[in-house]
Subunit: 330 residues, 4 copies
């Protein structure tokens, strides 16, 4: 089997998690780790038997055939373009960029360079959501009529993060826009969004919301609701349900254990996972496996850059709707 | 204990159900049954040891202290006013009327006559929803942030019903508007609604929708979502959830039994109840018990006529929003 | 429809509950109430529009066609015989008697008098257990291999009750022996039982156990386990499961509501019902409806007196096994 | 951190699984793989960067400090003794041996050689059962009164396995005897067992049973029930429940996903895992992590050889009980 030699760009928390998953794939070798904090690059490189490199060193290495980009959001588009020009296959964490213009120039470059690009919309690879999708595709509930998505972080991000996040809809709901498109098999045509600052005054002070509800419709009349928040005290609230002509599919939260205690105080069972690292551990692992499998077989990976662009377009429409109080046509 | 003598106005399916519940209350006697179909009145009267009467006979009987109105929607306001003028306490099935103007004149009459009026928003008395409300009031999840309501009938109504129904939002969602107001402790201030005709072409031909999504916000920033449909193939989909600062309260569907079968085909458990008669059997019983208790103690019953009016106002706003594609300020 | 005129013998807690269910059946009239406490008989009779009578008055009334016996256990056999001799149809709460000899003479009298006799093994009429039985009979799990029954009271009985109870196996497990026989479609052939006094020292002082485990086998090799206790702090623990060649059927406890609260402390859901009055409300109602339907149609009611005898035989075998430490052949 | 150099003895299915888990521990190196099938040893050695060796070569290597024994049952005791004499720390899959005499001589050798020995009762490390145990130890349900264990394989073993298995109680229930001892904190004092051949006639032809029920009591009066079978069509049935003075702890089966489909046919949810490899994947990983942590810290691993001996003693008592129809005192 072909050995794929990777450069890992970004050695923060998510980078380390992805690197561990990548390195565990038998025909993958991570040769370079790049990070603007040299110690971070060195530390991660050491655990991987890799070298801490700068971006030119990594991309200039002819042996490197692929890169994984897990750096901060504002660097994604630049690194994607650099990697594309160097002819590397690219896996990049979501989003491509927070602005549509930059996304479009970036994707044009990727297209011109004709390299594979996969965006890390990990929900598609979650075993829960993928099982729901398989049942949907198998016709268990017939034609889709209504999709409800719950996406609530357990706890708000640190104060410094919000201003660089792009706002709730571009940061968190971007995943849900992709999930909705993936399940619908059809593009949303109207977007209506409301937002409130109920959770953390600092988020409001930074000009953002922490509680949001988005309603979308499609040309064929399907409805999508996204319920989102920066806080869900009981844990990471990640649920999906789809109503169709023949019934209801639901993917619930994933309890940490099946243990329950029945006492005079009630029947108490396990909380769900608390954050994306544990909740989506399998999804993160499986999305990289899928990417590498595409490299093995020469097939095109998905979600694509275009999926990234279309999800951002919905986030921008949600922002516009929230600002105007009107539904936005997409 | 004071004996309350009732006239039952309306002897159709819902009338029979209410009459059975009312007659089972020890200090209640149903003396008259009124229906525009004489045989219906006679048949129900016979099972109750009551007399089939016309409206004047029933309301002219000095012994009668209370009426229960379960006739067709377009007669509610007239019967309420007649009963009010006759000085009777009134329980009326929802809605007061399908038009705001008629609701307002009707409630003015009730006010002038100074009689008690209770509207049959039975969800408030459902043991599931009432238990959720008690936990909410007890502070289990702190301040409310987000309410999600599911209201889906198992099967669409017969074709002839739709034109007289007032439309999906005035007919079905009216319950959800009341539930939302009851849980919020605050009036919704914006309403946005979308609707589709996905379930039954005849509903569309009658100018109505069968699939709806309503988003509301309040002045303090709370969000409410109502997911509704004329069809839910697996049964009557009646769920509530409330997210607050400290957690999530959920009231699920009520399975008919706890029996599950685990076989090679999966783990199969019981469907929920199929219609409002069985699903809300307890709620229907408890709301009349509450009404009679108010008569016993001379306290004012709720939900009130004003609750009926405010729910209708939200339904009208939803209709306006759907027509204009804009959020409507209430 | 024939009107059935009943005498109610026994006006205690269970008597009142049965009387309410019986009186709600349209073609039933309770004409006499008999109790050794005259005030109890009078009070119940008043709510039923019946007369407080002595046993001879009740059984001597030619209009009376049926009796329901809910008096204390030690009087069951005498009242059954008296009613049988008077030619009445008989519904009697379990057990027929606590000793096999008296059961046998009593049943001989019933047989000689050729009157219908139904014993109140209410579990057979519980909608949960009946639904499980229907699935079992429908072949959902194929041939039965293993039955597990949980029967735990929420709280121990008052101290004075234990000495008259016949002991845990004859008092509580008698229901489970009947349930096992009903599900097996085959008689148990060996019985092994262990018992402990873990819950309440007064129970031990009265010579009884409060915690028991019974294992039975049948000639064809099926296994039955009964797990029982006088205490289950979280509520009335009433569960059934059956393993067969094609899978597992389970009937769980019945939560009072479907409401759950997810907070940092866990996911807390509703406790099950606390006692037999609420847990088996439907079962008690349905068993009398079944009895009256047999009277309507002239068919033989079940569970029969013979079912009562065979359940007692298993309880006696369990007692013998506990005393000897050996499995007992039945 | 000290590097632990292992010899892996046994390269079959379970050996490969353990080797993968062991090799993923950072301070572990597997240097030798031993198997009586040379190709099996070579193949596994190749994936580990290890050498295929014979037992003398592996145990004679001074660099090797520990062995993991996953060979066939009848070789465990010999390999344990050889490793003990060579001064290696030992992890051995259950059981030590199928006969008590051989277990005792083997443990005597281990004791004389003063090496650590851990037996692979993996259930203790299962996150579900461990969470239940933590709640039990934390006093959530107070003093234990009754333990019920379900242990059913999804499908019977291949025909050739049964004669070498030691029989149902020594092969499968041995895990449950250990689980019971672990939860009880007290030794069972009586054992009663029944067994049937209901699942597979070939098992009966080989002189074994495939359906078993074991009841144990302790000196303090606690009860334990083990329900076991060689077949559970819906998947691997691995459940635990403990009743105590304050309530009930339950560890349920682990569904593969949380997805449910509600259609007219019912509410269908995911089956549990099908076999021990996936169901106990975490347990297998965590037990080796625990063993290596003991090596790191110089503490004694558990479950010990003595735990293995005591579990076997209970299995032998169950066999004797089944043969005699009497409870056996241990």
């Amino acid at each position: 089997m072909t050995k794929h030699v990777f450069a890992q760009i970004g050695a923060g928390r998510i980078g380390k998690m992805h690197a561990g998953n990548l390195a565990a794939i038998p025909n993958v070798r991570i040769k370079h780790v790049v990070d603007h904090v040299p110690q971070a690059a060195s530390a991660l490189a050491a655990t991987l038997g890799a070298t801490a490199s700068d971006i030119d060193g990594a991309l200039g290495d002819k042996e490197v055939t692929a890169v994984i980009i897990t750096s901060s959001t504002n660097t994604h588009a630049d690194f994607i373009e650099a990697a594309a020009r160097a002819g590397k296959a690219i896996f990049c964490e979501k989003p491509v960029d927070l602005t549509m213009a930059r996304v479009e120039t970036c994707l044009a470059t990727v297209k011109a360079c004709n390299v594979p690009l996969m965006i890390g919309f990990n929900r598609r690879f979650d075993p829960q959501f993928a099982a729901l999708k398989r049942q949907l595709d198998a016709g268990v509930i017939g034609k889709t009529e209504h999709i409800v998505i719950y996406n609530r972080d357990a706890a708000p991000p640190p104060p410094g993060f919000v201003p660089t996040s792009g706002g709730l809809f571009r940061d968190m709901s971007i995943h849900d826009f992709d999930t909705a498109r993936w399940l619908l098999g059809e593009e949303p045509s109207t977007v209506y969004a409301v937002g409130s600052n109920l959770v953390d005054p600092e988020i409001g002070a930074a000009g953002d919301i922490d509680t949001g509800t988005i309603t979308m419709t499609t040309a064929s009349g399907k409805h999508v609701v996204i319920n989102t928040s920066r806080r869900s005290t009981f844990g990471y609230d990640q649920r999906l349900e789809v109503i169709g002509e023949k019934g209801l599919l639901q993917a619930g939260n994933t309890p940490i254990t099946t243990v329950s205690a029945s006492t005079a105080a009630g029947v108490t069972s396990s909380l769900p996972h608390y954050n994306f690292i544990t909740r989506y551990a399998d999804a993160f692992r499986l999305e990289l496996a899928a990417f590498v499998k595409c490299l093995d077989t020469g097939t095109s990976p998905a979600p694509t850059g275009e999926d990234g662009r279309l999800a951002l377009r919905l986030a921008e429409a949600a922002n516009e709707s929230m600002a105007t109080g009107r539904a936005v046509k997409v």
